[in-house]
């Protein structure tokens, strides 16, 4: 769904660019520091496992594994930028993925699966949005309720079974034959969502309204922004991203299971925060969030290649989150 004011953004863009340039230089420093973290990680991977890490197949692997959570994180970044939170993303991914892989849905083939996944995700987002914007529920509570309800419904649909996808056109999309110029289709979708998200947040009225609502909702309201409608759209957008992610996950795993999307909410929030989006709202960066996702995926990849076990992985992951945020804050201070 496109907000009606998107077309009005064009004339305002010249003015916006001037005001944005000041802010964006600081954001770039933040992104730059995260790029530094990523560079260090790549160096570590390249030194410890040169043959396996520095390899086209591995690049494809890391980007593919990042694409599902990446799409979720883009939606999450909008919500957090507006001062909200969406705890239901993982549960929505689970519900959309199982709803789209029932025997009944699969009879409609590729289009049926895609349509159902996206629609279920968006519908859940709509419910979140209505509860928060018009039902005046705190986002934390409303989306927590959605988390419980969506997981429950997903379990009810599957009865705990793994639903195998039998539609070949969906399955083939995840196989090497479907790669476009060596790029997996999942990664293309991830890239497209990132580009659209970045443009929407940085180059449109919708994006500026999001930042304004997150910075100071009352001021935004006095400035004539329909804060409630804006919030509704934002949760809708997050739900839409979950729907897309659910479809990607179906392609990736060739199945739907009620355990899908486990703890996505934490991964997405963590990626957005180390990317430089403020948990309190008012500032957000899509590029930073995507870099955050890539940092996490690369860490997992390096650990797996070096055959480190999950206990060590978890300890190191925690340490790296703290280190990344500290490094980033330091550079951000130096930059301003």
């Amino acid at each position: 769904m496109t907000p009606p004011d998107l077309t009005k953004a064009a004339p305002a863009q010249v003015a916006a660019k001037e005001t944005a340039s000041k802010g964006s230089s600081r954001l770039d420093v933040r992104n730059l520091s995260l790029l530094g973290v990523l560079a260090v990680l790549i160096a570590v991977g390249g030194i410890t496992k040169p043959e396996q890490f520095l390899d086209t197949g591995n690049l494809q692997l890391v980007l593919t594994q990042a694409s599902v959570i990446g799409v979720v994180t883009v939606g999450m970044t909008f919500v957090i930028t507006s001062g909200g939170i969406d705890l239901s993303v993982g549960a929505i991914v689970a519900l959309a993925s199982v709803w789209a892989t029932t025997v009944a849905t699969q009879e409609y083939g590729f289009a049926g699966i895609l349509f159902t996944a996206v629609l279920v995700g968006t519908a859940c987002g709509l419910v979140n949005g209505v509860l928060i914007a018009y039902g005046r529920l705190v986002p934390f509570i409303a989306t927590l309720a959605m988390l419980a309800a969506a997981r429950g419904l997903a379990l009810q649909i599957t009865e705990g079974r793994t639903q195998m996808v039998t539609v070949n056109s969906v399955l083939d999309l995840g196989l090497p034959d479907a790669y476009v110029l060596g790029i997996p289709p999942l990664v293309l979708v991830f890239a497209a969502v990132t580009v659209v998200g970045r443009l929407l947040l940085n180059r449109t009225t919708f994006g500026r309204r999001t930042v304004a609502v997150g910075g100071n909702a009352e001021a935004a309201r006095l400035a004539g922004i329909d804060v409630r409608r804006q919030r509704l759209y934002l949760y809708l957008l997050s739900g839409l991203c979950c729907g897309i992610a659910a479809f990607l996950l179906i392609v990736l795993s060739g199945s739907g299971q009620n355990t899908n999307g486990n703890l996505y909410e934490l991964d997405a929030i963590a990626a957005a925060i180390i990317g430089g989006t403020l948990l309190t709202g008012g500032r957000g960066t899509i590029v930073g969030s995507v870099l955050g996702v890539l940092v996490f995926t690369t860490i997992t990849n390096i650990f797996a290649l070096n055959n480190l076990q999950s206990d060590v992985q978890q300890i190191a992951k925690g340490a790296i989150i703290v280190a990344a945020v500290l490094v980033q804050r330091r550079t951000a201070h130096d930059g301003t």
């Binding site: 594994q65 025997v103 009944a104 629609l119 195998m164 795993s253 997992t300 290649l305 055959n307």
Partner: protein, 361 residues
Amino acid sequence: MPKTPDSARSDTAARPGSTRRGLLFGGAAVSATALLAACTSNEPTKKDKTPATDNRPAADSAPGKKVTIGFAGPQADHGWLNAINENARNRAKKYADVTLDITEGSNDTAAQIGQIQTLINKKVDVLVILPTDGKALTQTGLAAMKAGIPVINLDRAFASPQASRCYVGGDNYGMGLNAGRYIGEKLKGKAGAKVVELAGIDSLELTRLRTQGFDDALKNYPNITKVARQAAEFTVESGQAKMAQLLQAQPQFDALWNHDDDQGVGALRAIAQAGRKDFLMVGGAGAKSAMDAIKADNSVLKATVLYPPTMSASAIDLARALGQGKGIGGIAELEIPASLTLYSAVVTRENVDDYLPTGFN
């Protein structure tokens, strides 16, 4: 929003666009909801559902004294636990003299204690308990035994042997052992053979036991080295992710043991995505999808090591025998044994037809 041709015959409302848009959107939402609602069904259109139960006759199926069996288990949130419930139900149905009182499954220890207390108050003749957490339910097991109700402890063991009359469970160590032996025999004589392990949730004791058994079995084959091990989370998603990493890390290996067939669905997907066929794979638990693949013999999956969900059917057999004061046939003992650990059979293409009816979805 682009004007549609029929907007010519516009109504005279102040904001015609918005009402029509509202109507359009509302209409679309209603029809989409109707469409979606039709899509939650998981019943196959054709009647090809085979019950995941064992139809072999019990030792003594001649009707006897009427027995009421109380059954309490965790929430059936994955295939194996679901099969546990189905096996118990179907087994009880086979006996005219058995009434099964089965509780709503719960993963909450407090809730499960409450459910079992209710069953004790109802004065069922025998209790079958698959605890969410074995140690946490020890006191409840003791309470039931003190109330004179014999308890059969299924799979997840209580902390005290006093809390149950009989334990029936799978053998996690044995799973690893048999998987290791099977792979060892297959790779016998191959110098410098490499093996990879895709484990389950690492924080669970059962995962450690499976790995321990696997490692112990491999020690008998000096030509084999385990080159990598990663832990997934028993889910398809994690299986795909971890297997993809393992395949990237190990460009060449000879065999793979995957602890769990549910995550194996994801692992097989990752193997197909990587286009690898150069090794043999052994699964675990005994899902129907895995057995189908073994039977079809068109993937790297050549065998799976059972963790039989039929154990709940056996528990019903034992509960009935306890309630009627009988022993079990085929052994010399007059009494039912205090402990029964099931064998983790290796299902291959040769014997898959025997086990296929026990495979779970």
